[in-house]
Amino acid sequence: MPAFDPNAKKMLISGNEAISLSMRHCNVQFAAGYPGTPSTEILEDYSELGGYAQWAPNEKVAAEVALGAAFGHARSVVTMKMVGLNVASDVLYTATYTGVDGAMVWIVADDPGQGSSQNEQDTRNHAKASVCPMFEPSNSQEAYDFFRIAVQTSEKFKIPVILRMTTRVDHSKSIVVPKEELPAMVPNFERNIAGHVMVPGFSKPAGRRLRAKMDEMEAWNVAEGPNRVEMRSEDFGIIVSGISYHHVREAAPEASILKLGMTYPLPMQLIKDFAKKFEGKRLMVIEENDPWLAENIKAAGIQCESKFDPIFRFGELDVNRVRRIIAGDRNPDPVPVKGKPPMLCPGCPHRSSFAMLKELDCIVSGDIGCYTLAALPPISAMDYMIDMGAAIGMGIGLRNVLPREQAKKVVSVIGDSTFVHSGITGLVEAGYNRPDTGHVVVILDNSITAMTGQQEHPGTGRHLDHSPAYKLDYGAIAKTAGFDNVYEVNQVKEPEKFKELVKEALEKDELTLIVAKSPCILALKSILAWDKANKEKAEKALAESEAAAKKNGNF
């Protein structure tokens, strides 16, 4: 059950919870995603509310299955964190050309301040570059409402739409009053080859249609979009979107505000009209991360002040920082007292793995997950980390150029969920462009997507709702890709065996995969409970079918 009562008339819920509820109330038929902080809870909550949701191997596949559903006249959703959009962007940049037949909302969660991300990229750039309409809620009620508007706009204009969230909006709780349900759509196949097959002959006119659609949508956004003008001071106006709205209201309660809810395509006429009121007076744009609004507004010939980017484009905004932006304070941010950094849990299997890799003085090409914490002192045993799946490719690159004695020390280390996400093609690369020294890949298989809060994936043998699923065999993939050796070992129970395996593998000029399998200690209890429940369910179903067969005399 979700952590809130979905039938209440008024509720205190997070932005993510609000979206999951809005998905139910909008009768979304299909939702897919890949876990990523701060977006993860949306699909989990949606599933607990009775919606159909699935984890995909990665964001690109999630987007593709959701797009297929939207082609089939369904309402679909795909969720991801902002770096996931890089993986899925290939889908987005052409899905805007085709548009959709049902509705499709891309929920993309940015992480200003990098609470749990490898970079601080701003999804608004993707929206503009891919020509994808975008909404930016600033609290839970707007997350609920804007999701609905996103669905309706997607349906009306037949185009995928981005709901751009940020960590604060995802994870802060505020009050939501829900609305009535939207009637469900009826999935149906309709042939439209020229509209759905993006060969150049069909794609060129589609690109022109898309730009024409944006003109229409901008006019709609000016007339009916979820934007509002709040007139107070006649001398000071601020243009704002997303969470910054609330910081601004608190930091400058006297200021007039143009609050933008739909930020692509921008309602430029609305902005011009607002700016006109402050000609010769003070007009500011206040936004988190990139100077995205400011650049677009200035490019339209509107004079306005914006934040001092060498300081304020980094990190989250808050009330104090907004006060400083308004005051023109260009001093560096005060340095907060450093808290205790997160670390690997006591008893975590990753500790055993990295202690050994350190002992063998390996050059570790690492990846994304809890184990990335092994790069920090006192372990300090990871040398590279860039993006999901990169451990394997980077390891092969290093093996190719380093002097032999260094190349022989390179190990690619990757978690189980990350391996499924983007590591498989790395194995294919290793088999195809085999380095002279071979290579050693270690999958740290803790049997769950631990980092984001214990989500299932194709290697766990369970679906998003923990029901049984086909379980991927990593060793079989490696063999097919051309690996010479595949081993499995529990590195916690048999540390000496693990060490010997890695040592031997490093000595050979062969391709070796070692699956170091030991479950996440935080997830172990849940894993056992899920497996037990699935086993009992299967036994019960078997007993029931046997009884039925007996009764019908078919036994």
């Binding site: 701060p38 604060r168 994870h171 609330h246 209201r249 907060p336 670390m343 809060g453």
Partner: protein, 157 residues
């Protein structure tokens, strides 16, 4: 009245989020506008964690985050986290730490967060029953009895 700001802080696993959820639920049920901020993700791996609850009647709470120097109450569940968070406390604000509780009388050390809520409760007019309703809503039934004791230990101790 103006916005009341309560900041909870501690280390991952000390019940920071839960305590802030109880406070937020309590004031929500009493008809206040309320916002609650927290950061997930790395938090469960033992690092510093804080959660802000802001509430008001008759006016809207804007930012979900308490600005530096504006917390009316700073409730810290791990002494090491006082220095990390004290800049948030306003001049004359109330700081509560585990030192304010007779921890030896706690039947379950995990209920320290609930005992701290009991201590905090003395600064508000909400009744014990109102607090209990919020606590019971946020915790599984098997904890209700123990929570009540821990809460009263903080409130009366």
């Amino acid at each position: 009245m103006s916005v009341v700001n309560v900041k909870f802080a501690g280390l991952g696993g000390t019940g920071v989020i839960k305590a802030s959820d109880v406070m937020a639920e309590l004031v929500f049920e009493q008809g206040y506008d309320v916002k609650k901020a927290e950061v997930h993700g790395m938090s469960q791996r033992g690092g510093s964690i804080a959660s802000d609850v802001r509430f008001a009647k008759g006016e809207e709470v804007q930012s979900p985050m308490i600005p530096t120097g504006e917390a009316d109450y700073l409730v810290v569940f791990d002494e090491t986290q006082v220095v990390v968070n004290e800049a948030f406390l306003k001049q004359g604000g109330v700081l509560l730490t585990p030192a304010d509780i007779d921890v030896s009388k706690l039947e379950n050390v995990k209920a320290l967060n609930v005992a701290m809520l009991g201590k905090l409760s003395k600064h508000f007019d909400f009744t014990v029953d109102q607090w209990t309703v919020a606590l019971n809503k946020l915790f599984a039934e098997k904890f209700h009895e123990g929570n009540k004791k821990a809460f009263m230990l903080g409130r009366e101790g």
